[in-house]
Amino acid sequence: MSLSALSLLLFSPALLPAQDVTPPAARIVIQPPSLELQVGETATLEASVVGIDGESLDEEVFFFSRARRSVTIDGEGKVEALAPGQFTIIARTRRRGATGEGQEGRASLGERLTTEVSVTVMPPPLVALTLIAPEGRLYAGTEVEFQVQGTDDRGAERAVAALSIVSSDPSVAAFNSFGQLELRKPGSFTATAEAEGVENSLDMQVYANPVASLDLLVNSDEGRTGDVLHFSPLARDLNGSPVTEVPVTLSFTARFDDDLGPAASGQIEPDGRFVAETPGIYTIIATCGGTTARKSVRIVPRNVGGKLKLVGRGKVYDTHTSDLWIWEGIDGRDYAVTGTWGGNGDAIFWDVTDPANIERIATVNVDARTVNDVKVTPDGRLCVLSREGASNRKNGVVLVDVSNPREPEVLTSYDEALTGGVHNVFADGNTIYALSAGRRYDVIDAADPRSPRTIGSFELDTPSHSIHDVWVEDGLAYSSNWSNGVHIVDVGAGLRGGSPTNPQPVASYAYPSGWNHAAFPYRDKETGRFYVVAGDEAFPFGLHTEGLPTYPRGWFHFIDFTDLDAPREVARYQVPEAGTHNLWIEGDVLYGAYYNGGLRVVDISGELMGDLYRQGREIAFFLSADPDGHISNAPMVWGPQPHKGNIFFTDWNSGLWCVRLEQEGKN
């Protein structure tokens, strides 16, 4: 059949003539039909094609692995096992010439002679179990964690399945169903662990508990909801001497100021930190063996409530609005620039000197569909616009002279190594940090804004890393990297010898959700602690760009970076049924863009622990509903920025807003 004749027949794949799709009458025979290999072991598969009558057919068979990072196969059928598990190798005949069809023949995927070969790769054998007892002595009347570590025949750590661990004398010490070791009375015992035929034992001694009395101290008898109180148990022996190495367990009971069904009320950590969410009397109980101590404290309402009052609007209805920047111009007046999302590539300039009468003064159009981020240099002269969706796919950034914001002048477009799209930028003096294709950030010297040049770059070295945002303050760059979390990089702080041309990593922290979208540093003067507040972005229920409101999720994570080598996530601010976006911190106040939850203003003073929302630390909120919005009555707050006593923010559906906080609470 000629190709032209064939094409005439092919009106549709669905109407493919039956005679062109010959059902396989033959089969592929593989020897051996399945494989069981150890990691690192190889084997070879032999393939032949047998006809319906058992005759050998001269057909070419090729192989591929459906898990090539765990088991590989080459063109000769040689299989190599790389990782444990159950995998499939496919053997398939090549169809070329078999039917005379061409690419237009469109034989369905399942119409090739194919056979699956099961490959089982066994994990390396377990050869040793190591029992890891807690450090220090074991004391009767306490409970400790106990670990067992497996080692394979190559000396690597290996997960241990079906571990059994028993005590030789349960009256002295016994393992509970969670693997914890309950120390019951003085004496000796042997702990024996067994898994996969491998066994190991450890002899241990339980000592008499020397604690004869307990006191419980606290740094304050009264606190507000959200205040972190510090409890310190003081154990003594019969001689009255302090005992420090015996673990003391802390718990609490609560009697609330109301009895209207309050929820869980507080949190205490093993190190004695306590925070309450609900006002009332709390009794902290310290226990060590048979000895206890109690201490009660009063928790009063935080009373920081306020009200956000609308001051003015800069309405944008014809497209979605993205980020904003507010600055004092060189003429002493105040200005704002806002970006647009999924539109025409506009950046809009506003005079906000009188925030009750915000005036739209100029628009700069660039070749883009989204101007996601806008920043202005501290001297108020240069504006940086990010570009995504450029018609030539070169994207990059656009530098605009805003010495006179009423007549902004585009100086240059810069896309060197930024063609994949710039989602966020930051202006640190005349040094621009610009994301490149969600993969890294480049550092651009814009001292001559008509001729910018790339002088540095920072990219993680983890597999499949990505980046969403970067913020620079005091020589440290804080990047938000989705599942790679927050990374702090020295670009001139002097911590690691870094500079804009030679960024040097300082510290990082990642959390499991992978939603890390924004980050803002915060140093608490009262405690001296150094936090980075990391915001999520998540749309588990999708994003409606037209017609319907959206219901994002996520929260602000408070990561204590005081010890840069051991960052800890200590607190969160989580508004139920809503999702975070950008944030700003000024003084001890967090201004949070909480998408459908509106603008949130939060007291973050003092030490932080637990859920700040539930602790009554929220000062005020504002829902930017607008019946004329791009999506009607659907608050979707994108980014906030306090400026000269006012709070400006953008809403994705309605443009620029200005509100002012009226304090009501006593605190």
């Binding site: 669905a14 398939r92 061409g102 690419q103 399942g110 569909r369 969600g438 993969r439 599942s483």
Partner: protein, 359 residues
């Protein structure tokens, strides 16, 4: 998108007796949408619009499209991710997402081989340093990447030989045509594509190249003996003899030829001119441009030809908030017969099916 943009425009120039309905998929790269467009021989209209991607507030960039042999599924390459792109698999029956697999940086054009049943997708990687990128080879039944073959810088125009046994792609920034054995996944041959005046790819640091001819698309001819390639940077379409592995003919074109398609009978060549807002229709045997037809939007992108050879479907991107468009061109009258606006930056395009219309 306003209702007005969704309205179709029939130009009334099509044959009066077309009894087929035609369906194509078109991707809107800056809107994260895919459109199913229906054409009845005279009018084009949007049958459905599919939102795609997983990062709602970012432009992920749906770029390449192909329909599975048998027509049960369509596949979409998504350019951006975190940071790698993704191949998605949807059912044609209801446009429901049924599978996905991560690929390389900016996966772009792709096709499924009739020989192996595997899908071959180039990782375009047009960002940053021009280092050699790759072709991802995917088992579309399991949606697993089974191999990744390194080719050249910015590979584009992923197409298979007529028997499906050879894969061809252009390396746009190293001026190469690369041939891969579809079954062994190994590179068989490379051909440097110059502009015929002695201009060749110039070595740069690290072995990379400053492109001269910037080949963007390759399409084997149905006779299996030759392939046509767009030299985007040199305003040429070249014919390469696949046996001799040499350029056998050069066709001077309008500015920036980008995609092309050969009609099923092998007689016509339709070339999109990205820099000239138009489409060129060529007589393959006579090396003559029969017509140059302006497209509705300025940045002309992709083209597919219906299996009956009667119509070419051309996507055009537009600029800024200007919508993309799909133009339908009659290959008999050599005129644009219908157009319909779609989403922002319409690029990737794939022919789905023809259906005989009930009388």
């Amino acid at each position: 998108m306003s209702l007005a943009l969704l309205l179709s425009v029939g130009l009334g120039l099509g044959p009066a007796t077309i009894e087929q309905d035609y369906f194509v998929y078109v991707a809107a790269e800056s809107a994260d949408e895919v459109y199913v467009v229906h054409f009845d021989g005279q009018h084009a209209d949007i049958q459905s619009r599919v939102k795609v991607g997983y990062m709602p507030t970012e432009i992920e960039g749906p770029h390449g499209l192909t329909v599975e042999p048998g027509g049960e599924h369509w596949y979409l390459s998504m350019a951006h991710g975190m940071p790698y792109g993704t191949l998605y698999k949807y059912r044609t029956a209801d446009n429901r997402l049924v599978g996905k697999v991560g690929l390389g940086l900016f996966p772009a054009t792709m096709q499924i081989s009739v020989d192996t049943g595997l899908l071959y997708c180039v990782n375009f990687d047009l960002h940053g340093d021009m280092s050699p990128s790759s072709v991802s080879i995917v088992d579309p039944e399991a949606m697993v990447e089974v191999a990744r073959t390194t080719t050249g810088s910015m590979p584009h125009g992923s197409r298979l030989s007529i028997d499906g046994s050879r894969h061809y792609s252009c390396a746009m920034m190293s001026d190469e045509l690369v041939e891969i054995d579809a079954g062994t996944f190994e590179v068989l041959r490379r051909l440097h594509l110059d502009d015929g005046t002695g201009g060749i790819a110039r070595p740069r640091d690290g072995g990379h190249h400053d492109a001269v001819t910037k080949p963007t698309w390759v399409q084997p001819h149905p006779d299996g003996k030759r392939a046509f390639i767009c030299l985007n940077g040199s305003a040429q379409v070249v014919e390469v003899n696949l046996k001799d592995w040499q350029v056998s003919r050069r066709l001077p074109t309008a500015k920036a030829p980008y995609n092309l398609e050969v009609s099923p009978d092998g007689k016509k060549l339709v070339v999109t001119y990205k820099g000239a807002a138009s489409v060129g229709i060529w007589d393959v045997d006579k090396s003559v441009e029969l017509a140059r037809i302006p497209t509705t939007r300025r940045i002309t992108h992709g083209v597919v030809i219906a299996p009956d050879g009667k119509f070419a479907f051309v996507s055009s991107e537009g600029i800024g908030s200007e919508p993309g468009s799909l133009d339908v061109i009659s290959l008999s009258t050599l005129k644009r017969v219908a157009t319909v606006d779609v989403g922002l930056q319409a690029g990737g395009i794939a022919f789905w099916k023809m259906e005989k219309r009930a009388q």
